[in-house]
Amino acid sequence: MTEIKMVKANPHDVLTGEHYLDGNHASAEGGIAAGCKFFAGYPITPSTEIAERVSQRFPRVGGIFIQTEDELASMNAILGASWGGVKSMSCTSGPGFSLMMENFGLGMMLETPCVLVNVQRGGPSTGLPTLPGQADMMQARWGSHGDYEVIALAPDSPQESFELAIHAFNLSERYRIPVLVMTDECVGHMTEKVVIPKAEEIDLVPRRYTDKPPGEYWPYIPENDLVPPMPPVGKGYKFHITGLTHDYRGYPVISAEVQEKCVRRLVDKIKKNAKDIIWIEEKDTEGAEVIVLSYGITSRVVQPAIAEAKKEGIKVGQIRLVAVWPFPEERVRELASKIGTYVMVEMNYGQIYYEVERCAAGKCKTVLVPHAGGTVHNPEDVHVAIKGAVK
């Protein structure tokens, strides 16, 4: 296992203290605390506050903010800056997320660390710009063409927006992959207390550069954890990287054999390290009859429903997906044989629900409490679903 030597955050970047911030501002502060120094974005409600805060803060912390001409340019600019050796991030919402998909795939293929925050809103198309949704979750997984594995985190509060932004940067550097933070308009615009710790309490994963000299280095020879070290630009490595299917040298090779090797490693890079990336919070799952699954803001909305159901004597457990992708297949399968029903609550017409159903594989019932978006669930609907599950 490759050893990672963490570094501490730079005190100049970290806005230590207790603040009253909304989720978007907290995401921006998280990125800055993580050492992000390049931001390219395009204004789109409800994510614009992230860009605005970054544009205010960056000149004071030595970063560069650019508002690009469109989301396509944003996605590419953050890839270019990342290759230039700088931590970079962008933010967007549904329509912009769709535009970024092709080059999100480029980031995957080139294996470029960067962070993309999607503050989800009601969709499809222009939808509900100022109201929440959680309907981009499958797009997060499959939005770009081709085979690849994704890491997507879902914060449920401004505090977590701050923390998961840092975690996203750490995961992106660790696995050389663009990481998604799938928040939503509700968390993005809700204002709560956010405690930002001192810089020395924030651990960051530094970029993994190669220790081989120029001439002996090829861009895609992985280490034991299937992650290849990166080359520094401008130091004589004269490497070539391409979005075409490539071999260990980074050169394009158009053959089925190289396709197998190239894509297999991209997929395995996350699959084989999944247990270190999967992050769920379980409560009362042992001996439960019903388990309520949720992520993001919805996991706060289900609390009153669960409390009501418990009062009625139903043994309800809950799983909150902090990392929605990679999906915790093993744990969901394991619990499926022990419980009666999974109740999936999400602000869409069924996206992660199908993962739950797939993993349950008929060993328990699965119920979806959908919502078209625009507002959070009514806890009573969740309560009714839980009750219905045990009838």
Binding site: L72, A81, K87, K238
Partner: protein, 298 residues
Amino acid sequence: MSTVEIVEIRGKVEKEHPMEKLLRMDRIPHIWCPTCGIGTATKAFASALEKLEIDFNNVAVVSGIGCTGRVAGYMKLDSFHTTHGRAVPFAVGLAIAKPKMKVVVFSGDGDLISIGGNHFIHTARRNVDITVICVNNFIYAMTGGQVAPTTPILANSSTTPYGNFEHPFNLPLLAASSGAVYVARWTALHVRRLTNAFAEALQKRGFSFVEVIAPCSTLYARRNKLGDGLNLMKFYHDNSIIKHGADPREIDIGFQDKIVVGKFVDIEKPTYLDCLNEGYKRVLGDAYKVYGEEDEQN
């Protein structure tokens, strides 16, 4: 020439081509067709780098998709082969992250001006310090010869089998009106002037643009019954007019018509980072932390 002498030449490869230090020899010969002008443009670029005695470690090449997009793959520099139309924004990110590096975008007319058009005009407007080399062969060659936004009116292509009925872009005009500080056009035949133009463009601070009119034998020439690349080169020889400082509005290219070449724009203008740094300093004073090269390596 006697047979003996021919065999001798064939066997004799003891001297390597002077450009081999700038080429990925493990990938030569390249994929471009015989009589394609992209190879010549690449040679001119390599000659310009040599001439400027630039540190090759400090040059990055970013290409898009298409025949010209393959240039990045053959040059022995830090090179990036990005997605269609997105070489310019990728280069912008790279150039901002590494302000001391020379970032060159080397791509084709379709890639830079059609799908990449928006990025092209905005980056020129911002005057980001990169050099954009556009090899214009008037067609989408790699994908089989479809019409491009630079295809002259009346020309034939696979998607305009009855002739192109759209007005094409005038690239120097587009670049100049978007704010480029250096705009030049040469053909692949004008190799030495092209090399000088590349050298000037590389040294210019700000967004510099060089259009290279290049022959495409397999698609453009063939579909329009113009012979092959050599015939097109002869055409450039007989029909190019050198007019430095010409008004970009008057240098449209018609189908098999006169081609005005030369250096059209060479002005000074503060770059994107100049304006940014100066502006922040003015407003924030000492609170401004200048963006420098973040050395994130050990």
